[in-house]
Amino acid sequence: MRGFFAVFKKELHSYLTSPIAYVLAAVFLVLMGFLFRNLVMQFNAFCLTYFSQAARFGGQLPELNLNRIVVESFFGLLGFISLFMIPMLTMRLYAEEKKLGTFELLTTSPISNLQTILGKFSACFVLYAGTVGLTLVMMGLLDAYGEPDWGPIVSSYLGVLLLGASFVAIGILASSLTENQIVAVAISFGALLLFWLMGWASQFASGGLRKVMEYLSIIDHMEDFYKGVIDTKDVLFYLSFTFFSLFLTAVVLESRKWRGVR
């Protein structure tokens, strides 16, 4: 337990004393702000057309749904930008240790691989969660000038955090495979994109394979969260995805022993 906290503290400290975390968080928030602005302007334009049409043709029309148009798209885009951001946060986690030789310090210390993996995972996840948490300001603006439904917003945040946890786990796995950070980014980005596009690919498969591909589609499990539904099935999907990736990381680190590498 103590080893876990030591690694967690060290990683978080390392993120916060290097410019990487600040630059990535800033880029992320600027992009999200930009997209948020566009979504709101778009909603505005919709409203204008919609009501002028209604006035011209008369009759009662149902109100436009702020959640469907702004909130759902916002979180969809947030997940997509995370896909680019997280690999850059995770790339150094193991690759750098191997390059610097500090990996030798960790492996010859009386702490388990599990403790280092979880420590690194938690630090990166906390950073991600903190950055995503700052987008609450935008939701606050929405609340100040409109009447969004907070239920789906809360469940979307939960969904986005679960999605982020899976991304971080894949990133750590990729980082454990190499001592080159660029290679780590390439692997994790490629793997994430593959899972991202799995739903699309499943349309061209049939039978059992299609079922598997549909299940593995990492964004299809987000749909319910966007609508305000927290389904245990989806929560379990992201949790098991995360744990399986972290487990594979442990296997990779252990394999060094029987592979007889230097």
């Binding site: 030591a6 400290h13 592979r259």
Partner: protein, 314 residues
């Protein structure tokens, strides 16, 4: 304290072992020098003892614990300085030592005390708040030694601790290591010969993955020659002195190395088993000559090393 038996290590699919059948023991409080040219297998052996990776064959035990079966117990007791000091450049010296104390499992209550003590011993007091990335090579090496010591380990394993340091720093580090003798068991690897004779009580020489010799620096010298060499300086007639010296039992050879103002220098060779120094002294005195100096002459380890490694290669 450390028992290494028949260690063999193959890397990957390579048919040539990096080390083969390496066996040695280190007693408690002893400083063992691990001497060999680059690529001889020193680092490989040390990495097995520290639990970095397992051997292909053989066992290594530290304080009675097998590195394969009880790796955590072994790791708790070992302080390890790898060839490249494992340092995080973005941490301060103090933050780093704190972190190492945590992951090495030092009791929380002793942490502050130990970090302070180690910093003082390694001369790091002035740089505790400096980021490691900004330190000079000498300081980095000291931080490396400090991290190996911080959790108060019984066993210290130092891989080339003086590499890349300037002469003054080398002396400092050697003194630091010498100061550890008695309280800790130390294995020190090096390919620099004077280092061994200056700091170590016993030497294991390794070449091409095999142990080629193991002894005290003095005995190694003697064993290699198969003779014991003694330097004698005396006053009196040269021929007469030489005659007396030759008559001492077990003396194999006497060489006159020159004279000055009636003072003559001789090099006496005797068999390895007998110590003839007392006999030599009394013979000279009872012969009526003046004895000025009498001391054993060791062969420099440099010579041994060259001889051992070239013989092995041939």
């Amino acid at each position: 304290m450390i028992e290494v038996e028949g260690l063999t290590k193959y890397y990957g699919r390579s048919p040539v072992p990096a080390i083969e059948d390496v066996t040695f023991r280190v007693e408690k409080g002893e400083i063992l020098g691990f001497l060999g040219p680059n690529g001889a297998g020193k680092t490989t052996t040390m990495r097995i003892i520290t639990g970095y990776f397992p051997p292909s064959k053989g066992t290594a035990r530290v304080a009675g614990y097998d590195v394969m079966e009880d790796p955590m117990e072994v790791k708790r007791r070992v302080g390890y300085l790898p060839e490249h000091p494992p340092l995080y450049n973005d941490m301060t010296v103090e933050g780093f030592l704190d972190f190492v104390a945590d992951i090495r499992g030092l009791e929380r209550s002793r942490k502050k005390l130990r970090v302070g003590k180690v910093a003082e011993r390694c001369g790091l007091d002035d740089v505790m708040d400096v980021r490691i990335g900004k330190l000079s090579k000498g300081y980095r090496q000291r931080v490396g030694i400090a991290q190996a010591l911080v959790h108060d380990p019984e066993v210290l394993i130092l891989d080339e601790p003086t590499i890349g340091l300037d002469p003054k720093q080398v002396v400092e580090v050697r003194n630091l290591i010498k100061g550890l003798a008695g309280e800790r068991t130390v294995i020190l690897s090096t390919h620099i010969l004077p280092e061994v004779s200056m700091t170590c009580g016993r030497v294991v020489i390794i070449n091409k993955g095999r142990v080629v010799a193991e002894d005290t620096p003095e005995n190694l010298t003697a064993r290699l020659r198969g003779v014991r060499t003694i330097f004698v300086e005396a006053r009196g007639p040269a021929d007469a002195i030489e005659k007396v010296l030759r008559e001492v039992p077990d003396v194999k050879d006497v060489r006159n190395e020159g004279s000055e103002d009636g003072t003559h220098r001789f090099v006496v060779e005797s068999t390895l088993e007998k110590d003839v120094r007392a006999q030599l002294a009394s013979s000279i005195v009872s012969g009526g000559f003046q004895l000025l100096e009498l001391r054993p002459v060791g062969m420099s380890l440099e010579d041994i090393f060259l001889q051992l490694t070239t013989e092995e290669g041939a």
